[in-house]
Amino acid sequence: MTATTAAGRRGMTRRQRTRLIRGVQYAVFVGVALLIVLKADWPRLSHDYFNLTIARQLFPDILSTALKNTAAYTAMGFVFGLGLGLVLALMRLSVVAPYRWVANVYIEFFRGIPLLLWLFFLGYGVPTATGAQLPGQPYSPIVLGLGMPAAAYMAETIRAGIQAVPKGQAEAARSLGMSHGRAMVSIVIPQAFRIIVPPLTNEVILLTKDSSLVAILGVTAGTKELTKFGRDSLNQLVSPTPLVIAGLCYLIITVPLSLVVRRLEAHNNRAR
């Protein structure tokens, strides 16, 4: 052989080398999978973590109360956050400087503090100072607790969406005699929302998971969401199975949303 390529010197063609590397990758995967399947104590694992007898006791409350409340808290936080986020986004784009300052301070504040601290503040800090709970119990600390930080993140997403609409769109609208406000409402914002549906859906996924922190707000039996429900069932039934089932319930919400985001993103990429 007088081949002078790297592959040639090792006595293999490029195709043979690619096959070998791929074969090794499959072999490692199969080996690790076999090790887990053969060495794990399956009866023990399923008794502790997937105990069907215990799981059955969670139904129907885990769906009719806990999952429902998780979805409801997420929706409330999202709607509040979206409305406030739109206002903040328009403030950040305003020609009036003080509006921009206020929006900037709000956004930086809520993006910078931990959600748990904010929930403690609303649930325990404010009542300690004023001697009274926030009005509108039990929902006000939940809506404000989840919605106000979410508004900060969504404001940035909405602002980016508005700025991603080509300048020519507003110019064409103004050239037809539309006022600035009319051009925003009829032309720019509808296009901005199209652009930001995928990131906003991601925001719903994050919010669904963040709603678990509401568990610290001393909720009652009827207002328990998935994490609190799982935590309390863990104590009552002395088994980690409720936490596993609660986790699966979160996936009922988040996985379909995640698939929707992927499809929308693929669709947007095609449209461009």
Binding site: G177, P190, Q191
Partner: protein, 272 residues
């Protein structure tokens, strides 16, 4: 009636032109793009503006409907001073059609909705009347069958004709065209120019920034050559394009009409 008499007075001081400009200056920061333009377009006149890129042609056009605010100088449209800070600019823009290089159709609306939205929101026309006007204008530009299509489904030539129909639906007194064929594939230019020819035949007042020299020669009442922020030469198309007086006009035309030719360099003998 009182308002009419005041406007008549203004007209008498600013001549009866559709567009009148006096010592118009426009700077973007340090960069002075328009360096004192005095210029008019008579009612029913078709004026083509030519010149190298960066010469200020588009900025001049955009100063007429105030998409750009002039730094100094005055602009009258049908006798009304549009540079007066108290003027209702939305009302002025309603009377001026504008056609953009990039079409700027609204992608989230159907072709029909593109043509009706400003009629309904700005002119407060009813749905039936707005659609009747829209269909008539689509017919006029040869797109009667595209009313329910979306802009993404149109070719560039169809999109630009739809954009012209959108402007026409507002019943403008004059039309501004900002390089309307520059973004089109060569084989689609003809359809758009055909529509523009029909507007000329109908007596529309038009100001067209263009690189289509043959079109300018054919339809323009007057051709204006701009370079470096000033009007270098203007006159009948056969004069400016056929026998340019100014060396900068001659140089520009030589480069545009004969792209491979470089008059300042000695020519290589093709027989060598």
């Amino acid at each position: 009636m009182a308002r009419t008499s005041i406007q008549t007075e203004v007209v008498s001081t600013a001549s009866d032109a559709a567009i009148e400009m006096r010592s118009l200056h426009k700077s973007f920061g340090e960069l002075e793009v328009l360096k004192g333009i005095d210029f008019h377009v008579g009612k029913g006149e078709v004026v083509c503006v030519i010149g190298p890129s960066g010469s200020g042609k588009s900025t001049l056009l955009r100063c007429i409907n105030l998409l750009e605010t002039p730094t100094s100088g005055k602009v009258w449209v049908s006798g009304q001073d549009v540079t007066d800070p108290d003027v209702d600019i939305d009302a002025v823009r309603r009377r001026i059609g504008m056609v953009f290089q990039q079409f700027n159709l609204f992608p989230h609306l159907s072709v029909l909705e593109n043509l009706t939205i400003a009629q309904r929101r700005v002119l407060r026309r009813g749905k039936a009347e707005a659609e009747r006007v829209a269909h008539a204008n689509l017919e006029r530009v040869g797109l009667a069958d595209k009313a329910t299509s979306y802009p993404a489904q149109l070719s560039g030539g169809q999109a630009q004709r739809a954009a012209i129909a959108r402007s026409l639906s507002m019943g403008p007194e004059l039309m501004l065209f900002d390089e309307p064929t520059s973004a089109l594939d060569p084989e689609l230019v003809g359809d758009v120019l055909e529509v523009m020819r029909s507007l000329v035949a109908d007596g529309m007042t038009m100001m067209v920034v263009t690189h289509e020299m043959a079109f300018a020669r054919e339809v323009a009442d007057r051709v204006v050559f701009m370079d470096d922020g000033i009007v270098v030469e203007e006159g009948r198309p056969e004069a400016v394009l056929g026998a340019p007086q100014h060396p900068r006009t001659r140089d520009f035309l030589a480069r545009v009409l004969n792209p491979g030719h470089r008059p300042s360099l000695p020519q290589a003998d093709p027989t060598l």
